[in-house]
């Protein structure tokens, strides 16, 4: 399984929930709220379930709903992956 990077998370997000809206640069993307990217809570939930499936990352529903941005989701996921290894 590839290392979980922002590029990989973005790919998963697009696969699960389609293209986001109107963000030109990757840096901006990572720190933009999911809602501003056009991703609703179900889109984030779907992405989280893929992270669980592919990376064994377990996030509670509350964590998923409150996660806010792609950067924050990546950070939470990577922390779990690191703690395991």
């Amino acid at each position: 399984m590839p290392e979980l990077t922002m590029g990989e998370l973005t790919r998963i997000l697009r696969e699960c929930a389609g293209e986001g809206e109107g963000v030109a640069h990757d840096g901006e993307f990572a720190d933009t709220l999911f809602t501003d990217l056009g991703y609703d809570s179900l889109a984030v939930l779907e992405t989280a379930s893929r992270l669980k499936r592919d990376y064994g990352v377990e996030l509670t529903d509350d964590e998923v709903v409150d996660v806010g941005t792609p950067a924050r989701l990546l950070e939470l996921a990577r922390r779990q992956i690191a703690a395991r290894s």
Binding site: C16, G18, G20, G38, Y39, L42, A43, E46, S49
Partner: protein, 407 residues
């Protein structure tokens, strides 16, 4: 009472992916019926359907909507887009809760559901999409149209198989009389996937013919079932005074009357009993303040199943007597579109009223035993003021609607 007018049309059909494309194909009797391509139909008793082919969702819809929608929901969104454009409706200019959505559905997002059941069975629960929570559901098209266009007025969904599409338009009319300014209404339906197909073939009413020209021949001596299809129409309906006040670009026509009834319990009457359908037609005319002589043509339900064809012919005979009204069956070109059929027939009736022409039915050679003047061969030009549309759903649903010209 204020008139309810249709100001926008959006059509997705097996023989045309927009209103004008469909109307041109229909007048030219171009059929959209063929062997199923979306899955291998070899193992099923019926192999023909009216499929919408060559539809690329990404060409019509934002990428965000694709992973969360069934094929039929994508098609309904495309029809709604066309209807809103056609009506020149700027939903931002209307009161926040002034526009609602009322659609009908017979199955919901069956193909989506089929794929997720497949994922569940083959791979496990963690492979089931979170979007399954709503993408399969009957109400999903109403919800997605509402979200896409920001329509927050009273909304809903009706489920009455093929009759439900007309019932949805009738519900929209009720909401307009209450307080809404406009409603997006109608139905785009179809479940052409293995999971949907076993449900449809289980009725025993599908044609098992393999030649598209011999499969769906309502009111023909050789009628032996029908061909299902996918598609339908979404309409923008408005209160006439409000539509005129906002200078709506066009008024396609009026919804004048509607009624729905339910058949008697099976076994208590002959299978071709026409009493409840007759009653629906009579009540729809009464609701329209019309007498039988006011009706210039009928868009028939045309089940293609002999006892149901007999019942419909008997109902029309009981109401219209020996008048032999022209009967249009454009659905011979598309197949029966479940809930989508009624709204598509209403859209077609409005185009017929506009152009003074009834489209021909394909493939069928009407038998004199039914006493109906089914339009075949070529379009029939005539002056039309009001038209009756009939739709029946599996299990006893009857629905009838009267639509009139805009002038």
């Amino acid at each position: 009472m204020n008139a309810v007018v249709v100001t926008g049309l959006g059509v997705v059909a097996p023989n045309g992916l927009s209103t004008e494309e469909y109307w041109n194909a229909t007048l030219a009797a171009r059929s959209g019926i063929g062997r199923i391509t979306r899955f291998e139909p070899e193992r099923y008793p019926a192999t023909l359907a009216g499929e919408i082919r060559g539809f690329e969702p990404a060409a019509h819809l934002p990428g965000r909507l694709v992973p969360q929608t069934d094929h039929s929901t994508r098609l309904s969104l495309v029809a709604a887009d066309e209807a809103v454009r056609d009506a020149g409706l700027d939903t931002g200019q209307l009161p926040e809760y002034g526009v609602g959505v009322v659609t009908a559905n017979s199955a919901g997002g069956f193909e989506f559901g089929h794929q997720e059941l497949d994922n569940l069975w083959r791979k496990g629960p963690e492979y089931v999409s979170a979007y399954q929570s709503f993408a399969w559901f009957y109400a999903v098209n109403t919800g997605q149209i509402s979200i896409r266009h920001g329509l927050r007025g009273s909304s809903g969904v009706l489920v009455a198989d093929e009759a439900g599409g007309l019932d949805a338009l009738a519900q929209a009319r009720r909401l307009l009389r209450r307080d809404l300014d406009a409603v997006l209404t109608g139905a785009v339906d179809g479940s052409l996937c293995p999971w949907g197909w076993i449900a449809q073939t289980s009725t025993g009413q599908l044609s098992t013919a393999e030649d598209p020209a011999l499969a769906y021949r309502p009111f023909d001596e050789r009628a032996a079932g029908f061909v299902p299809g996918e598609g339908g129409a979404i309409l923008v309906v408005e209160d006439e005074a409000k539509a005129r006040a906002r200078h709506a670009p066009r008024i396609h026509g009026r919804i004048l009357g509607h009624a729905a009834t339910f058949d008697p319990r099976p076994g208590t009457v002959p299978a071709d009993d026409a009493s409840a359908l007759t009653r629906a037609v009579e009540l729809a005319l009464a609701d329209a303040g019309a007498v039988p002589d006011d009706i210039d043509a009928v868009f028939a339900d045309a089940a293609g199943v002999p006892h149901l064809d007999r019942a419909e012919a008997a109902a029309l005979g009981a109401v219209f007597g020996a008048r032999e009204l022209p009967v249009a069956v454009p659905k011979t070109l598309t197949g029966r579109l479940c809930a989508g059929a009624g709204p598509l027939d209403v859209a077609t009736a409005l185009l017929a009223l506009r152009d003074g022409v009834l489209p021909p039915a394909a493939h069928t050679q009407p038998s004199p035993r039914y006493g109906l003047r089914v339009v075949v061969g070529r379009p029939l030009e005539l002056r039309l003021r009001a038209v009756l549309v009939v739709a029946r759903g599996l299990g006893g649903f009857n629905s009838a609607m009267v639509v009139g010209a805009s002038h």
